[in-house]
Subunit: 503 residues, 4 copies
Amino acid sequence: SEDDAKLTTGGEFTSIVVVGATGDLSHRKIFPALFSLFVEKHFPKNYAVVGYARSSMTLDQFKEKSCKRLACRAKAGAACESDREDFVKNIHYFSGQYDSLASFQALDNFLAELERGFSPVATHNRLFYFSIPPSVFLATARGIAHAAMARTGWTRVIIEKPFGKDSESSLELSTGLARLFPEEAIYRIDHYLGKEVVQNLMVLRFANLIFEPLWNRQSVASVTITFKEELGVEGRGGYFDEYGIIRDVMQNHLLQIMALIAMEPPVSLDAEDVRDEKVKVLRSCLPIRNDDLVVGQYVGDGTAQRPGYREDATVPKDSITPTYAAAVVRVNNRRWEGVPFFLVCGKAMDARLAEIRIQFQQVPGFLFRDTPGGMNIARNELVIRVQPDEAIFMSVVNKVPGLKTRLESKELDLEYKARFSAADIPDAYERLILDVLHGDKSLFIRSDELEAAWDIFTPALHHLEKHHVRPHPYVWGSRGPAEADALAARHNVRPTGASAARL
Amino acid sequence: SEDDAKLTTGGEFTSIVVVGATGDLSHRKIFPALFSLFVEKHFPKNYAVVGYARSSMTLDQFKEKSCKRLACRAKAGAACESDREDFVKNIHYFSGQYDSLASFQALDNFLAELERGFSPVATHNRLFYFSIPPSVFLATARGIAHAAMARTGWTRVIIEKPFGKDSESSLELSTGLARLFPEEAIYRIDHYLGKEVVQNLMVLRFANLIFEPLWNRQSVASVTITFKEELGVEGRGGYFDEYGIIRDVMQNHLLQIMALIAMEPPVSLDAEDVRDEKVKVLRSCLPIRNDDLVVGQYVGDGTAQRPGYREDATVPKDSITPTYAAAVVRVNNRRWEGVPFFLVCGKAMDARLAEIRIQFQQVPGFLFRDTPGGMNIARNELVIRVQPDEAIFMSVVNKVPGLKTRLESKELDLEYKARFSAADIPDAYERLILDVLHGDKSLFIRSDELEAAWDIFTPALHHLEKHHVRPHPYVWGSRGPAEADALAARHNVRPTGASAARL
Amino acid sequence: SEDDAKLTTGGEFTSIVVVGATGDLSHRKIFPALFSLFVEKHFPKNYAVVGYARSSMTLDQFKEKSCKRLACRAKAGAACESDREDFVKNIHYFSGQYDSLASFQALDNFLAELERGFSPVATHNRLFYFSIPPSVFLATARGIAHAAMARTGWTRVIIEKPFGKDSESSLELSTGLARLFPEEAIYRIDHYLGKEVVQNLMVLRFANLIFEPLWNRQSVASVTITFKEELGVEGRGGYFDEYGIIRDVMQNHLLQIMALIAMEPPVSLDAEDVRDEKVKVLRSCLPIRNDDLVVGQYVGDGTAQRPGYREDATVPKDSITPTYAAAVVRVNNRRWEGVPFFLVCGKAMDARLAEIRIQFQQVPGFLFRDTPGGMNIARNELVIRVQPDEAIFMSVVNKVPGLKTRLESKELDLEYKARFSAADIPDAYERLILDVLHGDKSLFIRSDELEAAWDIFTPALHHLEKHHVRPHPYVWGSRGPAEADALAARHNVRPTGASAARL
Amino acid sequence: SEDDAKLTTGGEFTSIVVVGATGDLSHRKIFPALFSLFVEKHFPKNYAVVGYARSSMTLDQFKEKSCKRLACRAKAGAACESDREDFVKNIHYFSGQYDSLASFQALDNFLAELERGFSPVATHNRLFYFSIPPSVFLATARGIAHAAMARTGWTRVIIEKPFGKDSESSLELSTGLARLFPEEAIYRIDHYLGKEVVQNLMVLRFANLIFEPLWNRQSVASVTITFKEELGVEGRGGYFDEYGIIRDVMQNHLLQIMALIAMEPPVSLDAEDVRDEKVKVLRSCLPIRNDDLVVGQYVGDGTAQRPGYREDATVPKDSITPTYAAAVVRVNNRRWEGVPFFLVCGKAMDARLAEIRIQFQQVPGFLFRDTPGGMNIARNELVIRVQPDEAIFMSVVNKVPGLKTRLESKELDLEYKARFSAADIPDAYERLILDVLHGDKSLFIRSDELEAAWDIFTPALHHLEKHHVRPHPYVWGSRGPAEADALAARHNVRPTGASAARL
């Protein structure tokens, strides 16, 4: 694109400042993604990558730490190594406080010098990636806004969840940011939206004729969006215990994916048009009812390796924070009224799995009632899997070849699995950072979207907290509490066939 | 089933008489199918297989001829050989004329003796398979009806196309047969209906929720049913020249398949209910318009191996018999009005191919107009392939993984290909003969169906013949005459992607 | 039509024999209908109307009795009187037994003489209208079949319900008739099918584009077919007590109307095509479940004029015959699965009413929840009323004009009411007899249809009788037993708005 | 509502300033609407109505002029007269220039005095109604913005078309206003949106289940929106000749109505949600193609009373300004692609008519082909008429009662006609002014909506002007130029039945 051209060949200089650069996310995801864009030639031609953190350390120490995971998706050893050397040359480190204006003034000078070093008259852009705890969000934002804004090019800030803890605190954060930056400068990231299959959702829905006639309450029985981890908190319970699984996963990742599934066709693929539709469908959702929500908390399985949540040293002994939740979201519009959107997420479960499962209704007036296999035949399902591998498949009923009529349901691969190697599929962070560089906001969350998302969950969250609702215990490595199955059954979500094990 | 039980274990004795047993069809298809049913234990326990033909030959000569192609689909050598020996024991040969009552009286005695040999008091069924030219159909039928009917069990006759040459002659044949046998004794075979994928059509349509909302004029742009052979007449032009490709292939095989695609859901899977719906949809078809029909005749490609049709020794030099035809059938009902059913068949063409191609409409209000690959992206298609291999696939548009949005259309295997070995898939004749043994008529053509089928083609056929319409020449090994492409284009049938080469 | 032409101008002579001519139906309905056809010039040009009954009476006595209700729909006094005189001239009376072959031989002679009197060489048709009790049906049929068939033209017999009492007895009657007459000679009348609005059902459904997209389980919540009478048995309980309301009204009139509502579009308007579809949909119906059936029996309201059913002199004191029934029929096909067809009929109720009420679903994602009148607004309904007047109307929600948004639901007249005078609307019997004269069987019940209809009700009827189920009492003049309301509620049939009073 | 309560009973004082108060619109529409709201008790309790214009005149002269048309819709003489006296008491007149800051400062003083007179501490709102030529729009706006804004309450301005002459000039005006007022203070009026039936459109579409399944390209063949006047310019050609019929009527009134017909269901009935959807559908419209536009100009009919457009004294002799236009708008989205929206408007035509005519497709597989009246039967239509009377009707095909099957199509009144008296139906201006008082913007045009609307018409307008396209002549009192019929025919818009005369 034009933008691309300007960034990669033109006379611009872009500083990418990773605030909180010594943290886990930084070296695990952000630096590898930056390097990958560099290797794939999607990176600014003229740039500086600046690590910013509180620790004092030498540049070499910082490079050692932050660059240890740099790898090439599709290039062989030597070529990759050569790229790595080139990339690392332009990495810098700057130590400063998050709540100190003076620190940001110093950073500004540091950046200005780099910019002048390139060219005093070029356009100088600055991108700040917030890889920091929520408690210092606003302070950092203030520092940048008051002392470190780009003088000639754009300034953009990337922030990640948590965006508050409920409608009120989220609004407070949004208002605080809005006083410092215009909305178009703020990129609220949800890295799930950067996944290839999530991207493909738009293509599947809107570039194929065959799905739209099925995409409604007449054909769909339920939509289940699942995110399960095999790991527990394992010594990192501090942050988690404050937020819990609903705020950590459900209210953002799962709801964002749900919005993409449920939204109306946008008027165009422009970022604002897509986001308009996402907001619309979120606003059509009713707040979660208390009886549509099941929360759980894992207990140990008796082994030392898998202790219960409250046995973790970083977790209060009387914690009632949910590590598992299952909720039914009701979309109260013409397309979806009556179709349960069943959101499920949990830690310390039986599998690592993230997927969307659209279960279609049973065929009315089913002709094969009396055919062997007929009555128990699974319903058609369309499954978009994000983890452990990205895949899209559809279950279709066929006749088993042979002289008898016998039915079977098979999950048929629509895409990806076995067709593309890992090398072909960029990491979610790559795509998202690239989009920020290009100013494309399709995959980022707008403030009104955030507000609508919180409105769905805030009453239920307040209810849990006000009434000290105890989560249902479930054993580490299990499918979660049985109450969730009862909730699913009440909403006619059928764990048939392969999904029985997975739900 | 109960029937099955009675036949395979019970006290019945069944004679299977292949009339015209020395012909090509007989040893190529019928005997192998009988043997296969025997191997698979779907055969009557007590039976005789009787070859009937004019030639004088010894039983050994006959066995030599008719059994040379017997093979086991799924059994290894020795086991198969042992089955073969068992099967061959009960083969008999009887020489007689087709138009001689005396011959059939003699056959009756011969059969009666075999039956008595089994048990004088058992039920004795007789199945007659007509593997004979149309000219002796009625004479043979008369012979059987007057002299060789089963005395205690059922008598059934299997007949194959041609069922007349137009509405009038077909009616004459039907009336003639109706005077001799009740409708329920007559099995008009169309072996295409015995193909596995054709069988699966019913399952796909009616056991899946996802196809019905698409199965109509709102979603389908066109349906193309193609049957192409690479071979010409090659010295067997006598019969063919009299009938031509429309009568030989289009009016029966293609139209039968079309009826299964286009029919309404039947009230049940019972044979009569399915046939009722097939008749209904055929009656909804308008007669082919002259300008909706393109006929062709192949000419040589300049080599000695591939002479033109009229250069074949068995073909009149001035023949105007079509070896290729393309026609648009219009189904004038609520579901299909405006959707062209494009039937194409030919000899001496570029490929051996039999398939059904349902082409869906372009996405209205297409959002990806400006996306690379967007405007030329193929429409969704559902393809049911019968030859060279049986397969069902669907083309779906996906995003190519990567940082850019790029669309591609892939044909995705819904079934069969690479999932089942040839051993799993019974030959069409197996299924059909088994159905006759069980008295299941789902896959056979009823007389009113035949009448409706002829009504669609008779006016066009009469037009061709009355006006001595010259077929368009096309070179052996080509895609057929260009005029057919023009016809397709006029009806918005798009040869996109893979189908471009195939159409 | 051609037929019409032949009958009214041609060289044919038609005898119309009313068997049981002294009965109530005969002078109340049959003779007036014959006369009306005569006045409207839809009558055979050459004809004799022959009354046949057991009573000895003079021709004048007979004319006096049978012609007292002759009236002209659209003609003024003198012209009508003149027509009447003409018509009456060709009325004859013949006294005979129903079970005596000799009587029918005598009738044959009598008819032959009339026929010869017209012309010895013309075509002579004979139409027999059975206006007799079921006990003499078969005897009469035998008499006609063996002794009084037309020699040169057609013979047709019209029979009216009851056609048996359950599947078995109905089959027995059908088989008995089939031995005597070919199916095409038998006209099983259901006079409800002759009503104008019932006729119009076909036009509404199939000549308008706008109803078909609504005519299915996606849009329709329920279909209620109601037939209520204000009268009780009033001294004529003999026949009724043997049959009960289910056999008298529900299994025939209501089910026939239901079939027209629920059937698929026929391939053409030909009688057999329409009847094929009716049979199909009846075969898709599941047998009535015992818990889907409520039966009632009226008790007196305390006045002498309105005694209870069992207080009627003609009714056994311990009768458990239902005088009211409400049943849910489930149509188990693609279009209707899950939509209750609620059939209601009763005697001694609060109104005289026959109507079909198609209740549409509530708008999903209803936007007007908070608008005054919004939540309680009635659902859309399409109502086809047969009695007390013929009318079709649709309820539509509109904004009440004014500065506020306020919703109201109005029943809007689609047809008939106030547009046509009674003179325009022929009696059902006129149409049906005319159709018999023309050999048009669209509105008559085929034997397989009858069989399918009985299959729906027989198990429930046998259950009632085997277990001596006591009907729920309801007071003369009431809406029927409250249990029926509970049944309706269980199936989401909503008595909103005007229908609340009517249900 | 709450707002209502505050305005009518509370402590607020509202000044309504009609700028351009001596003009035609003012005394014909604005003052009567204000009075009507006063009578109906929808008016602010404490208010001043201030006329502002350039002319010097006494208050009595002004009252005489502006109040001469005040009438009560639903009140009898004396009561009305008493209301009128009350209302007139609070009318004031203030003379000033439109482009003079000093004038507006003086007005501010005048208003402040009135406000203080009520209460120095109350909330004081000011509403400015721009009833002035476009040339002084911005000057007036500047005057108000700089000198006459409300100090404690809200300030709102109502402006009416023309909003520019094309995309560029409209943008200029929008930008100019945006510098002076926030978007929420600007009410762009399109009085067509205030019509009762237009209001009812939302109710019809979204409060009834039965229309949505029909509201799409599968069912709708075309939508025609017509606005025809019987009058020519009649001496008022100055303004008109500069703008022409496309800018005067089509680009605003017709397009606004089209947007309400074509838009997707909004997420709620809130003003912004409705306007979001209107903008979306306008953005989905392709710019009018030159060959999809027919323009005409009327010529005299030979009488002195009806001179040609260019014979009008106020019109240039060589004017090529269209007085008639017919255009096809293409909505390029999933719902509507392929459905022509045919907009027609003209002066000096055969009738005064404003209506929306949704023409449904022909029934596919039409069964009544051979029925008398079958083939020529009109398609179903839904007609919403705005002028000469407000009405909604649907054409439905019925069987004509009688013994023959004969079809007829009738237009059936769904609403209004004959049900409500004129007294019930408020004038469009009443509703709109009331909405401004309440701050409800549903019926007003947002700036992005305006932009989208201009984008549809600007290329065609520029084409007409750049190439001096001569409009087709048509005679005063005719149906417009024949070329428009050809355009309609090309797009399959059928002038059947009643619409033939009307189109």
